[in-house]
């Protein structure tokens, strides 16, 4: 199928009748995914959003339930968001990250109704990346600029129109709102050519990395690797796969709500024990945890690397601590067995 770029605002406007529509919009000099009020708010020529759209399914701050205590007793009101949503313009890396998050919120030990309800009611309309950025390394982590993992529709930009690949029934359903025409043979060829010419220049070498991380927990390399890290959460909060959270009660007298907030392993209070013991007392242990979680623990538990190569952590780090260099340093280090 074909949809012209000119028809996109109308497509989004018509989707708004049945869905809450999220799309890339301009904020200052960067792009953010936001709920749009008009189809023309969506920008189509962006490389990647500053903060990933994961927050639409797993908000940075989410009220799980509210409570009230009065003479009649305690009253709970659960907040499950079951509104139908479309995320338009999501990049393949970010779509893939949602497949990774599914492992966290839906597994044999726990099913998270807050995430899963949103997930089930959300349609992912992807736009492939004709020109990946210099910080993108998706092809090194089993992704690609036109990877369709988890997408319901994939749009391939061939100039003034998109060739639409229908990947699921959900995708087919939203497409009924669009003024589509059939793709000609020339359009299909143009799409194939576009896909071929998109080059991801940056690479990381994951060969043998997991085996190294299995045995280098006590390696001296962690001292030097983390030395310049200042311990902020610019990397974790801009990461599409980071998913750690903290739950707090925000209450005034007897009325309040239970809130889930993103947490970051870069923070000193992350998993600090009630006793005051901190299992990760310095930046070294915290940074090691971040790398281990993505490239070892997540593989141990879910058989997948928890990095999609979007490059945001590289772009946003205040001290240019580059994950590609970190991984290369680890690859170069001599693994040392625990004594």
């Amino acid at each position: 199928m074909i949809i012209t770029k000119q028809d996109i605002p109308n497509f989004l406007d018509s989707l708004k009748n049945n869905y809450q529509v999220f799309a890339p919009v301009k904020q200052d000099n960067y792009t953010m995914f936001k709920a749009i009020t008009s189809g023309s708010d969506a920008i189509l020529d962006y490389s990647n959003s500053k903060i990933p759209p994961k927050g639409i399914l797993f908000p940075q701050t989410e009220e799980l339930f509210s409570y009230k205590v009065d003479k009649q007793g305690a009253h709970l009101e659960e907040k499950i968001d079951s509104e139908q949503k479309v995320i338009f313009g999501i990049r393949p890396c970010d779509a893939k990250s949602i497949a990774l998050l599914d492992n966290v919120f839906n597994n044999d030990k726990y099913e998270d109704p807050y995430y899963l309800t949103r997930r089930e009611n959300t349609v992912l309309v992807g736009i492939g990346c004709n020109q990946p950025q210099s910080t993108c390394f998706c092809t090194s982590v089993e992704g690609g600029p036109f990877d369709t993992t988890n997408l319901d529709l994939l749009l391939v930009d061939i100039g003034d129109k998109y060739v639409v690949e229908v990947l699921t029934d959900k995708g087919k359903k939203v497409l009924t709102s669009a003024a589509c025409s059939d793709a000609s043979e020339a359009d299909k060829q143009a799409a194939a050519k576009t896909k071929e010419s998109a080059t991801v220049v940056s690479k990381v070498n994951l060969d043998g990395l997991k085996q190294k991380l299995d045995s280098n927990f006590y390696d001296e390399i962690w001292d030097s690797i983390s030395e310049k890290c200042i311990g902020c959460a610019a990397c974790t909060y801009s990461c599409p796969t980071c998913h750690c959270f903290d739950i707090v009660d925000e209450a005034k007298d007897c009325d309040g709500c239970r809130v889930r907030n993103w947490d970051s392993c870069m923070f000193p209070e992350f998993t600090i024990h009630g006793s005051g013991h901190n299992p990760r007392p310095s930046g070294k242990e915290r940074f090691r945890n971040r790398v281990m979680h993505k490239f070892k623990y997540f593989i141990d538990v879910n058989n997948a690397t928890a990095c999609v190569g979007c490059g945001r952590c590289i772009q946003n780090c205040p001290v240019n601590l580059d994950i590609r260099e970190v991984l290369a340093d680890i690859q170069g280090s001599e693994a040392r067995s625990v004594s």
């Binding site: 904020q27 950025q133 310049k228 200042i230 902020c232 707090v248 000193p268």
Partner: protein
């Protein structure tokens, strides 16, 4: 610029070769165009990794607190002021520090450069003494460095380090303090100021990069992280709480903040933090004649009290 770079490398190499320091903290070439990165050099032969150009934006004083080792550090004017302020607060042992001073002509603001390139990705950049040559997939552009200086640098009144063991180049000309930007903000109505700050802080994601990039933010536990009691809500979606976080952060820096701009440069969301920090710099100067990190003998503004101190923020005078 390469003259300074060579001088920095030579100084570092000598210090390490003579075992005067265990490590030299300076800048190395970063992994992206227009980026330098803090570097920790421990061997004389690694000194050649050190670089100096208009992208050495981090305040390296941030790496010097409570360190046991002997450290050599490459500093700009602002870094040196932070060092002096930290010495006064007993965070740095001067005896263990060797300061390689670099007169600084200012660091560029990557956000302004990105704006000039209309958001198109810069895939290569070259810094000359006074210009940047930027290359993208379909463009090439030359930009004057003075036109894209970070605002802190454009307004800087201490380009030359105030404290050093050696200076690697001739001093540069200083300029006078100009608070016109803050005066313009002060002239706005309360409602306008609140609206502006609300809009700016609505972008905050509570990553605390501003706090962590600041050499003067070193509380063992920051009040925002404390949960018993919870002084401030943890939700990034609450603009009032974001404002409270910044208000406390900025007031804690009153008379200590050197307006180095590290907080604003670290912010991934491009929040105008300097409108707050610089307002306090102005207040400290005008109300208490206090300027952070300039003279060792000046008492820290927050540690002194005179019976005739102005108190316009407490009672109407």
């Amino acid at each position: 610029m390469s003259g300074i770079e060579n001088a920095v490398q030579d100084a570092a190499k000598k210090l390490l070769a003579e075992n005067k320091v265990d490590v030299v903290i300076g800048f190395a070439q970063g992994s992206q165009p227009l980026r330098s990165t803090p570097a920790f050099i421990r061997k004389p032969e690694e000194a050649e990794k050190l670089t100096w150009n208009c992208t050495c934006e981090n305040n390296l004083a941030n790496y010097l607190r409570k360190k046991e080792q002997k450290i050599g550090v490459v500093v700009k004017g602002c870094d040196s002021r932070s060092i002096l302020a930290l010495m006064k607060e007993n965070q740095i042992n001067r005896d263990n520090l060797y300061i390689i001073g670099v007169p600084c002509s200012g660091m560029i603001d990557r956000k302004q450069v990105a704006d000039l390139c209309e958001g198109k990705e810069i895939i290569a950049a070259e810094c000359t003494d006074d210009a940047l040559v930027l290359k993208g997939h379909d463009f090439e552009k030359t930009v004057n460095i003075v036109d894209v200086l970070h605002r802190s640098c454009a307004a800087c009144t201490h380009k030359n380090p105030v404290i050093y063991d050696e200076m690697v180049a001739e001093a540069v000309t200083e300029q006078k303090e100009d608070f016109a930007d803050i005066e313009a903000f002060e002239a706005k109505s309360t409602a306008e100021r609140r609206a502006y700050l609300s809009q700016e802080l609505s972008k905050c994601i509570r990553c605390y990069a501003c706090r962590n990039a600041c050499p003067m933010c070193y509380c063992e536990q920051c009040f925002v992280d404390c949960s018993t009691p919870e002084w401030v809500g943890k939700s990034a979606s609450d603009i009032q709480d974001n404002m409270l976080f910044q208000a406390v952060r900025v007031f804690h820096g009153a008379g200590r903040c050197t307006d180095c701009g590290a907080c604003e440069r670290a912010c991934p969301m491009g929040i105008d933090l300097r409108i707050l920090t610089r307002k306090l710099v102005k207040d400290a100067k005008e109300l208490f004649d206090a300027e952070a990190g300039v003279k060792m003998e000046d008492k820290p503004a927050l540690s002194t009290f005179e019976s005739d101190d102005p108190q316009p923020f407490l009672v109407k005078e």
